[in-house]
């Protein structure tokens, strides 16, 4: 018999191996896929943007935690890093560093810490940062550059979506799929984003219903519009491959904190988001609607949760 006191705790006495840190750092790791495409197509500068953005996010988190009198070590749980890198991936490849840093700090401070820190935010911090930069520096946030494999002379300075919206030019699917197109540094290659997303789904960190319903919804609503008027609206495949849809579907809308808590709710959430994407892309002033659509469904999410409460066993 040992002299030490026995541990007294409430059941269960065994726990799974998962932890928040693991989830977050694994997500960071899976971001290597889109990050790789950014480096491959746009050179090393994007890497610098990511580093600066992630670093600022962590520092901002650290300062805010300190000010709020919370446990400062929380800033290293990986969630701030995820926000920082995700924000960077949504920015144009030649985005000024200090502006990226400002965006990251804004995201952490206003979208995350002011709502109570990790797990308590209502809006996706990375997208709030991106929306802030879009509104703060509209020119920088929409100045695109060619990939390393495009000749600068043919480059019109527009993303495939803008090309279509304003010039009615379709980009080949192959380029869209592999990522040899202008756009935000991490959003161009559908292939690599899907790979990264699949890893997360397989690991159980992402519910497949979210990306699936989101993409399917864009496909359907885009398809309906295309059937109505093929010459005016792009085909659904173009919709799902172009722009930030893939990045949004696998990394943004899937954010655990801001997505609904029930499976049914997640499906509704994805469908609603997809509808908004098509609506904004085709009818609003902006060529891209992923960011706005997700921020809007973020704000509707409490109501989705409210209305999709599961049935308690035995409830009539």
């Amino acid at each position: 018999m040992n002299e030490k006191n026995l541990v007294l705790s409430v059941s269960p006495h065994i726990r799974s191996e998962e932890s928040v840190k693991k989830v977050m750092w694994f997500t960071v790791l899976s971001l290597a896929f889109p990050a790789a495409s950014a480096v491959y197509f746009f050179g090393l500068y994007p890497l610098l943007v990511m580093l600066v953005s992630a670093f600022t996010a962590v520092v901002a988190e650290c300062i805010l935690l300190k000010l709020r009198g919370r446990d400062v070590s929380q800033c290293l749980d990986g969630s701030a890093v995820v926000t920082g890198i995700l924000l960077a991936l949504t920015l144009p490849p030649r985005f000024p560093l200090w502006e990226a840093a400002l965006g990251a700090a804004f995201a952490i401070v206003f979208a995350k810490q002011f709502f109570g820190g990790i797990g308590q935010n209502i809006f996706n911090p990375a997208l709030v940062g991106r929306a802030f930069l879009m509104a703060a520096f509209p020119v920088d946030a929409t100045t695109w550059s060619p990939t390393r494999f495009m000749s600068p002379d043919t480059f019109t300075g527009a993303t495939p979506l803008a090309n279509f919206k304003f010039e009615k030019v379709l980009t080949p699917y192959k380029d869209l799929f592999f990522g040899n197109v202008a756009g935000s540094m991490g959003e161009t290659s559908a292939l690599l984003i899907i790979l990264g997303g699949l890893v997360l789904i397989l690991k159980g960190y992402v519910d497949f219903r979210l990306p699936l319903s989101y993409i399917a919804s864009v496909f359907c609503f885009g398809g309906i519009m295309w059937l109505i008027n093929p010459s005016k609206y792009p085909d659904p495949l173009f919709h799902i491959l172009a722009g930030g849809l893939m990045l949004g579907a696998f990394y943004m809308i899937t954010d655990m904190v801001t997505s609904p808590i029930t499976r049914k709710g997640r499906v509704i959430y994805g469908i609603l988001g997809g509808f908004l994407v098509v609506l904004i892309r085709l009818f609003a002033g902006y060529p891209e609607g992923v960011m706005f659509s997700i921020l809007i469904v973020n704000s509707i999410r409490p109501w989705i949760d409210r209305l999709t409460k599961p049935r308690v066993l035995g409830e009539v």
Partner: protein, 206 residues
């Protein structure tokens, strides 16, 4: 604190900071958000509000005993609306540019909660002199707040003050500050800051 409230001087100053109509009482937020994008707009709006507040309090203070309690709100509003119309017509005639920039927000002073709320909460219950002092204090408090907002938003959003650029070419304006979200966030921060200070001073007192 309780004794102070009887001094006329206190009625004047309390509105500046301690009972600031916007930051503490959360009144008149709409116009503060809407027209504080430049310093000039802020000052014009602030002065208009002060003007209306002062004369409304004066008139209502004079006639309040004549008004039956049940119809007091419509009556107050008529008085307020009269002065707002005067201010609106004056601006339109003398400063057409500013009048244009402020748009519908000058007529909307009528429904600026500050003015009616002061009549309801203060003028109704107090004598004429304190009421007027209170009106001046509250109006000044409003000017202070909207000016602060204007300064912050103009500097960050345009890089200028009174339309004069104050930074070199290196400064890149943060456009969002002059858009609706910028207004919301700036005011949120000011109110938050105010709360923070009030809480701190209260803690010290205990």
């Amino acid at each position: 604190m309780a004794q102070n409230s009887r001094k006329p001087g206190y009625e004047l100053v309390k509105g500046f900071f301690k009972e600031n109509p916007v930051l503490v009482q959360l009144l008149g937020i709409c116009s503060v958000l809407a027209v504080s994008n430049t310093v000039v707009n802020s000052i014009s709006m602030g002065v208009s509000v002060l003007f209306v507040l002062f004369f409304s309090s004066l008139v209502i203070g004079l006639i309040k005993d004549l008004i039956p309690n049940e119809v007091r709100i419509p009556a107050y509003i008529v008085v307020i609306a009269t002065f707002v119309t005067v201010a609106d017509l004056f601006l339109k005639a003398k400063f057409p540019d500013i009048s244009k920039a402020l748009g519908a927000y000058i007529p909307l002073i009528v429904v600026n909660c500050i003015i009616l709320a002061r009549q309801e909460a203060f003028t109704k219950k107090n004598k004429l002199l304190p009421s007027i002092l209170d009106a001046i204090g509250m109006g000044t408090g409003y000017i202070i707040t909207i000016l602060l907002m204007g300064i912050i938003r103009e500097i960050l959003g345009f890089g200028s003050i009174f339309g004069v650029k104050i930074f070199g070419s290196w400064f890149k304006p943060i456009l969002v500050m002059i858009l609706p979200p910028g207004a919301f966030l700036t005011l949120a921060m000011l109110i938050g800051f105010m709360n923070f200070i009030t809480r701190k001073s209260e803690e010290k007192k205990l």
